[in-house]
Structure formats: C-alpha cells, structure tokens
C-alpha cells in the first residue's frame, strides 16, 4: 500500500510539474486530492486496514497529500506569474508617445521675472520691498525730491498729468494741501498739475521716510510713466528704486551695493563703475555702469570685432544714483532725518533695460506685446 502511495505521489508530482495552465492544474488537484481521488480513498480506508499497516500508511498518505498540495500551490504561483508576464507583454505601449493629458505649462513675463530677481538680491542685502502709488502727487514726484516748481529738471521728464475733473473732491483737496505745504511756489501749482502719473519710483523715497525713522533700507519696484513714445521710449515702463539711510552710509557703500546687485543680476565677475552726473535729489549724483558681459569689459569679441552690446566701450549704462540730497531730508526732517545727522544713498534703474540686456531683447516694445511665442521662451 505504501508503495502505491509513493507511486501516486511520484506520478502526480510529474503531472503537476508538467501542468501548463491553471485550469489543468485545477483538474490535477481534483484528480489527486479530490474526494474521489485514489489517495483520498486510501486515507479514508485506513481504519479498515490491519492495525500494523495503519500507522505507516496513514503517515505516508498524509505526507504525500501535503507534498502534492504544496506542489500544486507552488506551481499555481509559477503559472500565475507567467500568465501575468505574458499578459503584460502583450499590453506594451509606445513609450515615446507624449504624456497625456499634457498638463499645460505656464510662463512668467520677463519683466516680473527680472523684477523678482532684483528684489531677491536686495532682500539678501537686508532690504525690504515697498510699493507706492502710480497716480501720485506732484509734491512727492517733484517738490519733495528737490525739484521746486519751475525747476528746469522738471522739464527733462515728460509728465502725464491727471485731469482734476476725474478725481474726487477729497483727493483734490488733499493734493492741494500737499502742494501748499511744499514751500515757495507750491501754492502756484495749477490744479491741472497737482496729480501726475509718477515719472519715477523715487516719490516712494519720501513716503517711506515719512513712514519710518532711520535706519531705512528699502527697494521700490513698480511702473512709471513718461509722455514719450518711440523705438527707445515707452510711455509706461518699470523701475526699481533703492534707498539706504543711516548715520554713516557713504558713496563707497553705494558703489559696493551696486557691485553686489549688478553681479547678482549679470553674473559673478562683473564690475561696476560710477560716473558723476546730476539729479536734483542726490548730491553727489552718479550714473552707474556694469562691465559688459558679452565681451567681458574688453570692448571687443573673441574674433577681434567690436562688441555690439557695449559698442566697444566695455561698459553698459544701467541707472542713476547718488547720495540723498540734504534738501530731500529737509522735507522729512521732523521724522528723524536731520540732514546733519543722517546720510544715505538712493539708486534707480529700468527693469526693461536690464531685461533687454540680460536676455538679448532688441526692442522695448516687445515686452508689451505679450506674444506667447515670446513668453514661452522663458521658463
């Protein structure tokens, strides 16, 4: 009897190993381990066997049964896995097709990207970012920046004036009050010139100092407006203003700050230089340049030709700056800005100009097209 069990086990094991599908395996399970299976019959009939055979047959039969069960589940797992693999193989895709649905990809405008870059650099240098009114009082745009009424420097900026009739009575009264408080000539400013579109971000210098005692370190990004429109002038453009006032800030500090900022914008290795200039609200005043990044300041390119970016000069003009004029402090003296006690610098520059230089945009007007084919070039 034991021999028969072993024979069944042997034959069944062979068949299980040879099974080629889960259905066949199930059949084999029924054949060899089912209720009508021979092995099942043998185990069921143990009680009828002679006493001395019962032990060996029962033991051997159960062993065989357990082994076959194990073989079947093992083989079943093998077959499952193979079937899965084959199913997966037949379900292959062309992995080179594009992703779908493709999530749309948005792009920043170069102006805001450049503006953020400058903000981040200045924040790293310890500055806070302020914004100010674009529709601004003549008082802040000119008078308090040491452009008294009738001053020729007012002429150099073609100013948009806001029609008094389009403003509220309250706004006009407040504008009048500001002008009347602006010293000699302020009262003579006609209503038509009391409110302007700011021609620079500099009015925020005065507002910021009115609101906060020194030391003050702020940058002011924002739109400005000048009544001028041609290939190199847009009636609306963006500036960033910087103001640093404390007890001991020097022109050398201005140069160092500009150097850090310009390196942050245009890359390490750039140099900054300042050229004396004139602005009514700074004294001394300078214009500042960055060493040309196309020719590394040499003025000529690798092939010996003249550098087109800096016109062979090696330097590119970026903006204006200077030490805050004592007269400007005079307008905020009661806020802690005694011109004999504090000093500082201010600088300003055009965001479009920096973006044009940095990214090779040839025409100022392209920024306001908002052509997505341009926007998509910059991620």
């Amino acid at each position: 009897m034991v021999e028969r069990i072993e024979q069944i086990e042997r034959e069944a094991a062979e068949q299980i190993a040879a099974a080629s599908g889960s259905a066949e395996l199930e059949e084999l399970r029924v054949t060899h381990l089912g209720r009508k299976a021979e092995l099942t019959g043998i185990l069921r009939g143990i009680a009828e066997l002679p006493a001395d055979q019962r032990g060996p047959v029962g033991k051997r039969g159960n062993e065989a049964r357990q082994r076959l069960e194990a073989l079947i589940s093992e083989r079943a797992a093998e077959l499952d896995s193979a079937e899965l693999e084959s199913r997966l193989a037949s379900d292959a895709v062309d992995v080179t097709l594009p992703g779908a649905p493709a999530p749309p990809v948005g792009h920043p405008h170069l102006i805001s990207r450049t503006r953020r870059r400058i903000e981040d650099i200045m924040v790293g240098l310890g500055y806070r970012v302020l914004e100010g009114p674009e529709v601004e009082l003549d008082y802040y745009n000119f008078t308090a920046l040491n452009h008294p009424p009738g001053h020729p420097a007012r002429m150099s900026q073609d100013t948009f004036y806001v029609a008094p009739g389009s403003l509220t009575q309250a706004a006009m009264s407040a504008a009048r009050a500001a002008a009347d408080g602006g010293g000699e000539g302020g009262a003579a400013t006609p209503d038509e010139e009391l409110v302007v579109l700011r021609t620079h971000t500099s009015p925020m210098q005065v507002r910021a100092m009115e609101a906060q005692e020194p030391p003050i370190f702020v940058v002011v990004p924002g739109k400005v407006y000048r009544r001028d429109s041609d290939a190199t002038h847009s009636p609306m453009f963006n500036q960033v203003e910087g103001l640093a006032v404390a007890e001991d800030i020097t022109l050398a500090d201005l140069q160092g700050t500009l150097l850090e900022m310009l390196r942050g914008i245009f890359g390490e290795g750039r140099e900054a230089r300042m050229r004396p200039h004139f602005f009514p609200f700074t004294e001394p005043s300078v214009e500042f340049d960055v060493s040309c990044f196309a020719c590394d300041g040499s003025g000529s390119l690798a092939d010996g030709s003249r550098c087109g970016l800096c016109k062979g000069v090696g330097w590119i003009e970026v903006g204006g700056a200077g030490m805050v004029d004592p007269n400007v402090f005079g307008f905020v003296a009661d806020g802690g800005y005694d011109p004999d006690r504090v000093q500082g610098f201010a600088f300003g520059m055009g965001v479009e100009r920096i973006a044009m230089l940095r990214y090779g945009v040839p025409d100022l007007r392209r920024f306001l097209d908002n052509d997505v084919r341009m926007l998509e070039q910059f991620s």
Partner: protein, 825 residues
Amino acid sequence: MRVPLEWLAEYCDPGWEPERLAERLAMTGTEVERVTRAGTPSADGFVIGHVSSVDAHPDADRLSVCVVDTGGGERTIVCGAPNVAAGQTVPVALPGAVLPDGTKLRKAKLRGVESDGMILSETEIELGEDADGIIVLDGQGAPAPGTPLGEVIPLSQAVLELEVTSNRSDCLAIFGVAREVHAVTGAELAPEPWAEDAPAEGEGALEDLASVTVEVPGLCPRFTARVFTDVSVGPSPLWLRARLIAAGQRPINNVVDITNYVMLLCGQPLHAFDLDEVPGGELTIRAAAAGEKLTTLDGVERELDAGAVLVCDREGPSAIAGIMGGRRSEVSEATTRVLLEVATWNGVNILRTSRRLGLRSEASARFEKQLHPALTMRAQHLASRLLVELAGARLVPGTIDVSAGEPEPRVVSLRVPRVEALIGMEVDGETCAERLESLGFGVKLRKAKGGEIAATVPLERDSDVRREADLIEEVARLGDLDKTLPSTLPSAPTVGGLSREQRLRRRAEDVLRGLGADEIVGWSFADAALGDRLRLPEDDPRRRLVSLGNPLSGEQSAMRATLLGSLLDAARLNLSRGAERVTLYESGRVHLVESGAAAVLGRHPAPVSEPHRLGLLASGAPARSWRGEGAPVDFFAVKGLLEALCAQLGAEVEVEAAPEPFLSPGRSAAIVLAPLDDEGARGDPVAAGWIGEVHPLVARSWDLESAAGFELDSGALIAAAGAGRERYEDVTTFPPVHEDLAVVLPDEVSARELRERVLEAGGELLVSARIFDLYRGDQVGEGRRSLALQLAFRAPDRTLTDEEVAGRREAITAAIGEVGGSLRE
C-alpha cells in the same frame, strides 16, 4: 552743446585725441553724446589755389575752364561759378579729397573738358549757404598757392557733442567747457576773454540815443544796453562763420553772428536791435497782457499770456524777453546803428513762458537756468570788441544799466572731514582746495582743527553750488572715482524680506503659472471707450476712470479700472497670430477714482485707489491629445483654476450667481471670500471679484469666439488665505467616517446652497462635504437633478459611534427636505 575743438583749443588745449578727452569728460560728469566732425571728414586734399586764367568752356555757356596754380604746378579746373576770375586766391579740392557728404572727388570730364579738381563754394565745405559763387580769399596776406586749406579756414573740425546736465549752465559756453577741461586735464586755461572792453569812440550821448524802463524788476533783475554807430552789416569773416556752423548755428550777418558767437563763448545770450527801428530808442520791459500778440524772428505769430515778459518800444512789443526777438526791429543789411541788449531774466519765468509757448531757443535754454546778473557785462565787453573789429562799429560811451542790485558772490564752507564722511575715501584739504581752484572757485583753506575751506563760487556756477554737499560733489567728481573709490557695503542693521502680502502674491502668481497660465503685463492705460466695448451701462461706476489731462492718444487717455481689457487684447493678439488656445494671467494694478481705499505710506494720501488684482482669461479650442479632446474652455474650466488658486493659498472660495454686463447671463458669478483674522476665525464673506464666460458680443468685439475668465482682488484673497496661519490638527488618532449621499434637488436650489445646508445640519462633526457627481435624467424627473456628496464625519476626541453619525445623517436629511430635496434611493 556742440563744442568745436578748434574753438575750445583757443582757451584750453590739452592736446588730447577727441575720444580721450570725451572719455575723461564723461568720467568727471559731462557726458559726451558723440564726437563728430564738422565740414569735411578730413582736411587732406584741400589746398589754396591761385587762378591764373579763365576761359569760356567751348561747349557750355555757364562753365569756365580755369588754369589754377595749386603749388605743385598748374592744373585745369572746370568751374560753374559766375564770380570766378583770373588773379583770385581760391580754395581748391584736389582729386582724392572727400566732401562732407562722403563723395570722393575724382578727375572728371565736364562736357568734354577734363577737370582736375574743384574750386569750392561755401556750401561744398559747409561753411555757409552761399552756393552761387566760389569763396574768394583775396586781400592782405593772401596765402600762397599749395598752402593746406586747413591752415586758412577750419576744415574737418572735431566737435564734441556734450550732454550738459541741467545744473551746469556754465558748460553751455565754450569758455565754461574750457575751464572744465582745464580742471579735468590740467592743461593751461587762457585768460578770460571778456577781461578787456572795446574803446568807446562813438559820437553822441548815450542818454540821448536810448533809454530803458524796467517795470518788472523781479522778472528782470538786470538790463544793460549799449549803442553802436557806423555799423556796416555784412557777412562775417570765414573763421567766425566756420565756428558758428561747427557749433550748430546758422550764420546770418556779422552783427547777429557776433551776438550768437558771444553767447556761445560766455553763456550769456544777447539781442541786437536796429536802433532806427526802435522809435525814440525807448525800451520798456513789462509784463504781457493776456492775449497780446507778437511775430517772432522765425516768422510765427505768438499769442502771449499774462506771465510772459516783453521788451517793448513805443509801437508795442518787439521781443519776448529771454526767448526770441521780434521781426520789427531785427538787424538788416540797412542797419547802421545798433542797440545791444544784454539782460538777466528770472529763470523760472522764462521756463514757464517757453513751455507755454512751446518755443525753446538757445537763449531760453540758458536763461531758464538762472544766469548771474554779472555775466551781462562780460557779454557787453566781448560783443563790443567784436562789433568794433568786425563790423566797423563805434561804441557810444557808457552803458545803460538798470539793475536791482548785484548779489554778493556766494561763499560756501567745506569741512574737509565731511568729504571722507560722505564719500567714504579720504581727501586731504590741499587736494580739495586744488580741485576747487581749478574749477574757478576762490579758495581759502583755514587750517583749523580738521580743516575747513571757504570757497567763493564762480558767478557762472552761482545757481548750482550753494551748499557743502555741492562742494563735496565737485571734489569727488574730479577724484577718479572709478579708479580710487573703494567698494564697501553698509552694515545694514535691518533684516530684509518680503511682506506676507508680497510673498502670497508671488505664490498666487506661481500657482497660476503652475496651472498652465502665461503671464502678461498689460498697459495701465485704457481707452475711454472701453466701457462701451464691455457693455457697461451709462451709470455703471466703472465707467468713471482716472483720466489724463495730456494723453498721448485717445486709446491711452485714461487709467484702467479692470484687467479684462488687457487680457482680451493679449488673447486677441495671440489667437490672431496662430495660437490655438491661450490661458493668460496678469498680476497688476487697476486705478479707481475712489480715494483712500488702500493704505499708502506717507503723510499725504494717494489721490486714487490702486488695488492689486489677479486676472485670468482662457480662450480658444480645448486642448487636443492622442487620447482625445480636453475639457472645453468654459465657466467650469476657469472655476477649477480659481478654486485651485484659492486652495493653494488656503483660502475658501465661493461663487454666487451674479450678472455682469460683460459676461454671459447665466454663466456669470461673483467671487466671495471670507477674510481670516489672526486667531483663524473667518469673518463675513465679501465680494472679491467676478468669474464667468465673456459675453459673446464682448468676445466678438475682440475677434474671439468665446472666452472665460476671472478677476480677483489680491488683497481679499490674501486676507482670506490661511497659508502661514495653519495649526496642526490630529487626524490619525480618531479617523473620520466617510459616507456618500445622493440627493435629488429642484434646479432652483444651487449646489452651494445644498452644501451649506448639509454642513450646517451636520454640525461640528461634519468636517467636509464635497460634491462629486451630477445626474439629470428620467429617474429624477423634469426640473430636478441628483447631486452626490461625499461626507466626512469626525470628532477630535473620540471615535464616532454609529448612533452619532446616524443622528447627524437624519438631521442632514431633514435639512435637505426643507429645500425641497430628498435622498435618492
């Protein structure tokens, strides 16, 4: 300011190449726009010739065949000038010479006769406008044939075009520039050219010939006048004409040329009257009457206002003071007696009048910067000498001088240590003194403790240098800043950073970009007709725009009150240029007439309110892919973007149906956001913008088939944003119980109302209710729909029992019933 180097060199000549000088000037505060050449590009090939003979051309009536000795021998030159004659000394261009227009002269046959050069007229070498005849250089000391022409008349002059800053009126003068060049190069400066006056040899008494009355001394601090007799008006000598032309002035006649020449040399404008056209020689300086008219030298009739100042004679106005002379008394060929006016005017008034008239002149450009009254006599001296020398004039003794009193020269103190304190680099007292002296300051160095300098300001710098800071600038700018100034950083005692509003605004922009929108920057300007295009009713407050008094064009005559116009403009541009679809956003300001809405730093309020907004517009075809078409660009597409934006900032957003004239009825809503206070409590919801599908008629006005978008007030979004204010909440100890609920609801009840009812009835245990399915059809019946909600119940301190949840569910079911809804079986 055009500065011919040949002229400059008479007063200061560093012997530098023009480019080197330009660079040095630029680095010391005088920008040089460009270095150009006046006249011919080069002096090569231009020589003096002597005309030996003149014969008629065989084949041309108007041409002559001349034999000209040009030094190295005789040559034949064909000439068309009627005034050519044997024996003349003339300028000749030889073959190879380059004319001002760039033409290179060659030997050429003229009607069969070869011409080996050209005899020159004034126009050909840009010396004047007389094209009818050749230049004849006869007279005493006529140069020998073959002499380079450049030694006789200025050819090929380098000209520095200076960009003079508005504070430096002294550099609107050749001598002022010479002083600057002296200071920045160290080259010697010639004595002041006005030191010597002309001899007064004219006959008659000045008081009999002319008189001046100044009615407005505040506007005319000084008026000087001299009289000249025996004046012979004619062309100026070539050298003078050449200098004027190189400096950008048109020669007219010797008298007028002298006034221009003197103005260019010393910076003080002058005006010459024909004394015989000034009845009685009486001049009155008075304010104009409003509406008074005068024809100026340029032939234009000008209408004046009461602010203008006039120089008048008995017959009326004869010049607009400080700006332009009148026709009536201008100097002509017939003039023999000249009254020369040199005055000082009030700069602010000149600027105002010239702006109002739209009339700027060389004179007004100088007067508006407030000249010192002492400059008048400099100009009188210089002009008198030239009139005597060049116009044969005789100066009647004396000067009429009506003056309100000459101010004392200004003395400004400089504390030497302040230089280092302000610029961050030590400059010793001697160096400061040297630099100031080179600029014409009178300097006294007091060796007191720390050093102090008393600097007397040159008269021509009087309105520019008034304070210590101005002196420090003078010292600093001559100090080779680019080479010597150290670069340091302030020891900033403040911590930099963005405000929460700025950070969240950046986040919002990043989210919109992450959601696939491209950023635009629109014009702040708006067309006043935008309200019509957006179908705003006549009384809509959004039609009231902040408008410009002096716009560039009608399309840019006001300031925008919505971002929608900019977004529609950009969408149209891109779709017309071939884009299939666009999703655009703008993060920018609008300008509203209400004042005081937003807090602005500073003592005086901003004139208008300028809230920052986030606008988005999508238009075009749904996205295509190989897996099929994407969702349509409609209300729900942009609402999804709005919800994602708000969710990213931790703001809870709702919309409620509300009409907008520019949106499609039925697909138009108000955005509602509830502000969050510092304790995390939500306030009452406020309207924060609009969302919807653009009305088809509006879309059509921008050539769009359809578009959808929203415009959201950034301030309201940020006030509602929980970002940065979150607190940890335990969600693992007591997990939530989820249940789905299908509700059949009449169409009139909005999804929002259903959700609010459910949340209210669910009480504190119901932590979320999300609508995830919508069904319409026979099973729910006409006028009704089925909405499926996923509910989550949770208590922070215990596991909810079935009974608790069941109780809430019953309350929810009852609440649904109150609005006419029922649970769907």
